[in-house]
Symmetry: D2
Subunit: 233 residues, 4 copies
C-alpha cells in the first residue's frame, strides 16, 4: 500500500461521515482498483476509519492526525496502534487546523515508520518544508496557510521552488500540492506542474454530485499519467 | 441507553486496542446483559469504537473525548456526528489528560445533548465540580488530579462533600468517583459510600486476568445494589 | 486600588507598547486622579507593565493574562508574583484570544485572591457567565465571541440578561460589557444600560487622536455617574 | 550585544523575581563587565525584564519565550516589540515547558532576526536539532527532555554528536548544553567538551548562596577560556 506518484487524496475533514462518506469511499475504491498505477487516498473522521477500511481494498485509508505515543496512558489520544489495526496506512500530521509542536511531530513521524503508517506532513512555507524534509516523512504537503479554503491555487513559481527545496534534501519524499483545488482542471494543472499528488476538500464536499466530481478529479490525475506515458514512448 | 445508578465504567485509555479490547468489550456486554438494573460503560480509542459497538448490545460505548463542533472544517477533530453514527452513546470531557477550555467544554456538552451522547465531565476540585454542575452534564467525575494513577482512593469526606456540592446544584447529575480504584473491594466501598458510579483503568489493564477483574468489579457494584434492595424490603 | 463601579478599561492588546503606550498611561492616570469616584484600568504587554506602574499613581495597571502558578518551574510562564511586584493590581483571564482550561482558570482566580490581583474573567455566553460567577472573580466580562472586533455592540437584551445572571449568583461581581465599543456614545450607552464597566481596544488604538478618544470615553462614563448622582438628589 | 563563545546563561525560570532577582542581575552584570571576552545571559519573568535591563549594562537580558507576532491583536501575547524596547536582546524559544508549533517557531525566529533579538531554540533530540539548525537560530539548546531537572548531565558522546550535527549544517550557530548543570565543575566540563555555552537554573536558585554560585560558574567558563588562550600561545 505504498503511496505512488501520481496520487490523489480526498480529504473530507469533518464535512462528511457515516453512510455518505462510506458511499464515496466505495467509489474511490473502484477508481483505485481500475487505476493501479496511481494511488488514491481518503481521510475520514476517526470513528469512520475502520468501517471504510473494512469495505474497501485498494484505497489507502488515511487518518487526519495521530499522536506519536505508545500504548499506555493518554486519555482521548489518537493512538497509532488503534489506527493501524483498524486499517489505516497513512496519516496527516501538523495540518494548520491541528498544529503540533516540533517534538510531537518528530515522535509521530517516528511512530509512523515503526508501524508502517505513511506520514503526510504539512508545512506552510519553503523554510518549514526544508526543515521537515530532514525528518524524512513520506509525503510533504506544501500549502501556504493563507490559501486554505480560498479557492486560490499556489502559483507555478511556488510549486517549482517547493519541489526543488524538498527533493533537494531528499528525492524520495513525495510532494503534495493541494491549496485551492476546486475542479478537475486544477488537479490536472497541479500534477502537470510537477506535484506528485494533489487533493481536495470542499471542491468535492460541496459539489452537486460529490461522487462524480471525485471521479473527474482522479481521472484528471490519470490523464497526466497517460500523457507522460505516451510522450515517453 | 440512559446511564443508570449504580454504574461501572471500564476506561482502558490508550492501554488496549484491537482484539484484546474487543474481547473485554464482549465480556462487559455479557455482564451488562445479565445485570440490566446496572449500567456498564466502556471507553476505547476512537478507531476501535465502531467495532466494539457493532459487537455489543448492552454496553454503553463511550468515547474518551469529543470536540463540540458541527460537521464542516475541523481537520483531525473528534466529530460528534461521526461518534454517534458509530454507536457511541456517552463521552468523557475535560479529563486531566485532555483538558478543554471552558468554551470548548460548554459547546461539547451542548452538542452531546443535541445528539444524545451523554456527557461525563471531569472536575478536579469541589469548586470546579460546582461550576460545571450548572452546565447540566449527565455525569460529573470528581477526581482530585493529584490521585490519578496513584492507587489511592478519595476519602469519605471528599466523596460526601462532592456529592452534596453536585446534587445540591442539580440532583439529576450522577456522580462518578474513580480515583485510585484497584480492586473489587475499592469498587464496593465507593458505591457504598454514595457514588453513583465508579470505574477503573490500570487495575484492569495491568491485572493478571483483566476479564476476571472486570467481572469482579462489576459484581461488586451489583452486590451493593442487591444489599440495598434487600435492606429496603 | 479596588475596582469601583462605574469603571473604564483601555485594553491596547498588542497594538501599542513603549513610549506611545506610556504617554496614554499618563493621560489615563490624570483622568483617574481627576475622577476618583470612577476606576480607570489599562492593560499593557507584559514587558511594559512595570514602566507604566512606575509612572502612574491612580491607574489600575492590568495584565492581559496570568498563569495561576506559584514561583518555581514554569519557563516562559506569566508569574503572578512577578506581576504583583511590578505594580499589577488586576488581570484579564480566559480571553477568547488566550483561552484557559477550566482548571487553569480556577487556579489563576485563586492565585489572584491570594496576592491581591483582581481578576476580570471572560465568558462568551450566559451559560458560561453563570458557571464562572460561582468562582467569585472580581469582574465578569460578558462578550459574545462573535462580536469581538466587529464594531457591533451587544444589544440591551443580552446586557440585561447577563447582568441578571451574574448578579443573581453573586451581587458583588462587577459586570464589564465591552463588545464593539467604538465611540464615547457607545460607552455612555453601555454604562447607562447597567454595565458596571466598559472598555475599548481598536476604537482608541485606531483613532486619529488616541489620547483625546480615551479622554472622551472616560468622560462619558463620568457623565452617567453625574446624571445618576443628580437624579438621586 | 552579540552572544560570544564561550557564554554562560543563568535561567531562573519562575523561581525568582523582584528584588532577589535584581540583586543577582547586578552581580551577573559585574561579572560580564569584568570578563568582556565572554557573554553572560540572564532570563527573567516578563514583568521583571525592563527593571533588570535598566539596572545593567553588560548583561544580555533574555526573555523565556516570545510569540512571533507583529503589533496588533494578540491579547496576552508576548509581544516582540515590547520585549525589545524593554531592553531584551535574546530569547528562548520552544523550551520543553513552553513548546511551540513548528509554524510558531519559524515565525518567532524570523521576528527575532527582524528586531535584533537573538534566538536560543531548544531541541530535544539530534533529529530535531538538525532540522531546527536549518532555520538559522543564533543558538541551539540541545537538551534531552528526559534530563531536565534531574541533576544528570548529557554525556560526552551526546554532546559531540550534537555539535557535529549542528555545526555540520551551519557552523555559525552556537551550541548551548545545559542539561543537569549543578556545579562549577559541571560548567567547566561542558565548555571543555566543546559546548559554546552552558547554563543553570536550580543549581543556582537552590544554592545556599546563589550569588556566589553564579560567580563560580561564570568563573569556570572563564577558566576554560584562559586555558585555551594559554595553550594557543
Amino acid at each position: 500500500m505504498k503511496i505512488k506518484s501520481p496520487f490523489f487524496c480526498f480529504n473530507p475533514k469533518s464535512y462528511f461521515y457515516g453512510e455518505k462518506l462510506l458511499a464515496l469511499a466505495k467509489k474511490a475504491d473502484e477508481l483505485a482498483e481500475k487505476l493501479p498505477h496511481l494511488s488514491v487516498l481518503m481521510t475520514a473522521p476517526y470513528a469512520d476509519l475502520s468501517t471504510i477500511a473494512n469495505n474497501t481494498k485498494h484505497l489507502i485509508v488515511t487518518a487526519q492526525h495521530m499522536d506519536g505515543i505508545d500504548p499506555g496512558r493518554g486519555m482521548g489520544a489518537v493512538l497509532p496502534e488503534s489506527l493501524y489495526q483498524a486499517g489505516v496506512r497513512a496519516v496527516f500530521l501538523n495540518h494548520a487546523e491541528h498544529a503540533m509542536t516540533f517534538s510531537e511531530l518528530v515522535q509521530a513521524i517516528r511512530k509512523g515508520k515503526e508501524l508502517g503508517i505513511q506520514t503526510i506532513v504539512c508545512a506552510d512555507s519553503l523554510e518549514e518544508a526544508r526543515s521537515i524534509a530532514l525528518l524524512k516523512p513520506d509525503v510533504l504537503l506544501c500549502e501556504p496557510t493563507e490559501l486554505i479554503g480560498t479557492g486560490q491555487t499556489s502559483d507555478d513559481d511556488y510549486i517549482q521552488k517547493t519541489n526543488e527545496a524538498v527533493k533537494g534534501i531528499d528525492p524520495e519524499i513525495l510532494v503534495l500540492q493541494a491549496a485551492g483545488i476546486s475542479s478537475a482542471e486544477d488537479v490536472y494543472r497541479m500534477i502537470q506542474m510537477g506535484a506528485d499528488g494533489t487533493g481536495c476538500t470542499s471542491g468535492i464536499t460541496e459539489a452537486d454530485d460529490p461522487e462524480e466530481t471525485l471521479e473527474q478529479m482522479v481521472m484528471a490525475v490519470n490523464q497526466v499519467y497517460q500523457e507522460r506515458f505516451e510522450a515517453e514512448k
